[in-house]
Amino acid sequence: MYTHVYIIALHAQGKIAPETYEAVSFARDLGAEKKTILVLGTLPQVEHMARELAERTGIAVTGAVAENLGHYSAEAYKSTIRTLIEGTSPFALCIPHTAAGYDFAPGLATALEVPCITAVEGLSEGSFIRSLFGGKIRAHVKPSTPSCVVTVLPGAWQAPAATQGSAPDVTIVPAEARQETTVPLGLKRAAARDIGFADAEVIVSVGRGIGSPQNLSLIRDLAALFPKSAIGATRAVCDLGWLGYRHQIGSTGTTVSPRAYIACGISGAIQHLSGMRNSQVIIAINTDPHAAIFRVASCCIVEDLTTFIPVVIDEYTKRS
């Protein structure tokens, strides 16, 4: 059977989001005969981005241009993509699972009357693999229709190496993006969050496993052992008000890569991992031996942090 897949490129401030290239690798693994990348926006950015995509991937690119595609909106994306793919019967539409991707993908699928399978991180014998329960269980999911929309989990595929040879042509087409219910008003930047992450050699980071804000002194004491350290936190700890959002590490917080990252009572949700997985040494302390954090840690300690950290501090002070 002849198969066609589309990859929807996402971008911000005229730059292709790196997750787009990961979605391209995913689409390659699907083994389809024909691939097309779609990129939506305004001129001249769309043309530049379309060329970059074609050069880097060797895949044909269609750039869709409409005045109201200057800012992302789900409404405009859904209507434009539907028109662009009309008359074709793609096996899959591959979309990065980013804040924009999961915003429009499920609605697009529903409008196309096909299933949407989200946050896919693997492939197995025609099924898509995705995580349940914070990564504790994997589900193999199969669409029962010939077509589906898939969102691709960031970090699950590597961006492809740049292709050699001549780039395929890019096609720029005018689009009609419907925008009747939405008025995009632009971007608000996150407040500056610098609490010394960049200078810290060691980041001691705390999760909900700390149990109560009273125990935070343990984290401060542990951090104080190192000459250059900072305290990080999961979103859960910030939501509870135990530490300010400036401490939040992860996809919607700060991304860090210190020489050592000590994760205390952190389960290892994908949104947290994406902000710290490039740390040189990852040490994790968690009572649950199956915690997902242990899959990225090089030093794994199954202990209750409230009893373990005092022993570490004690042993260290005795030695020095």
Binding site: I137, T181, T182, T252, Q280
Partner: protein
């Protein structure tokens, strides 16, 4: 003004769960404790805060699931929802997001809600879908990952800030009625008050029996469930607590961090 909040019941911890291979399904062990999906607590709180601003406002909470989810609907009443709706689905099988959204849409369509709130994702199946699918089925606009919403009833719009990567926010206004999916940290969910707890105890829930054939049930299937590869690349420190503490100090020394 009418607000509908979608609340899902999830197991408190994955530790009491196991996997059945054929057919593939999750088994909830006897020790399982169930609670409201955390993102839905933020959604419900946002609805209650909106009701405080607009006294003519009512807040309904709806959940799709087996008998046990009634405790979560009751929790919504205890927090302050005016009415609880239970769409009873006894199936122990996987119910696709399209099917769940279709059942909620079926109920909501004729009841002219001005605002429908859901969580950004359910902590158990992590699909990030039901709110968006529901919006599409009802022909409403939708914004996800919402961290701020301000309704302008004169204009019939809602101003929304949605959180994206790095904590930046996309700002937009959308026309009401609309569906918003709520991100954590938007507010501080309240604890039930005694008067609401007493009221919730007396109040009946509305129970809806779904139609024989529901739309979207079979569009995607779980063909297998598995545990992730056990093999961790990492080194588990062994021995007593003191042994592990010494092991950690040694590793920190080896990397000249201490």
């Amino acid at each position: 003004m009418k607000i509908l909040v979608c609340v899902k019941q999830v197991p408190d911890s994955a530790e009491t769960l196991s996997i059945n291979d054929a057919p593939p399904r999750i088994i909830y062990g006897d020790a399982s404790v169930f609670r409201m999906n955390r993102y839905d607590e933020f959604a419900l709180e946002e609805a209650l805060l909106t009701r405080e601003r607009f006294p003519d406002c009512t807040v309904d909470a709806v959940s799709v699931g087996p008998q046990r989810v009634r405790s979560t609907i009751r929790k919504a009443l205890e927090m302050g929802a005016d009415q609880g709706i239970h769409i009873l689905v006894e199936s122990g099988e996987y119910v696709s997001p399209l099917a769940r959204a279709s059942l909620i849409a079926e109920y909501a369509r004729s009841r002219s809600y001005d605002l429908v709130l859901a969580g950004i994702m359910a902590e158990d199946d992590m699909e990030f879908q039901v709110g968006q699918v529901l919006a599409e089925l009802m022909g409403l606009p939708c914004a996800t990952s919402v961290m701020l919403q301000e309704m302008d009833r004169m204009r019939g719009t809602v101003y929304v800030e949605r959180e994206i990567e790095g904590g930046d926010r996309e700002c937009l206004t959308i026309a009401l009625p609309a569906v918003l999916t709520i991100q954590s940290g938007m507010n501080t969910p309240r604890y039930p008050s005694l008067s609401n707890v007493l009221r919730a105890r007396r109040q009946d829930l509305v129970t809806i029996d779904p139609p024989q054939r529901w739309p979207g049930r079979e569009t995607q299937l779980i063909t297998a469930l598995s545990y992730p590869d056990a093999g961790s690349p990492g080194n588990f420190l062994e021995g007593s607590t003191v042994d592990k503490a010494r092991g950690l100090i040694r590793i920190l020394h080896e990397h000249s961090l201490l």
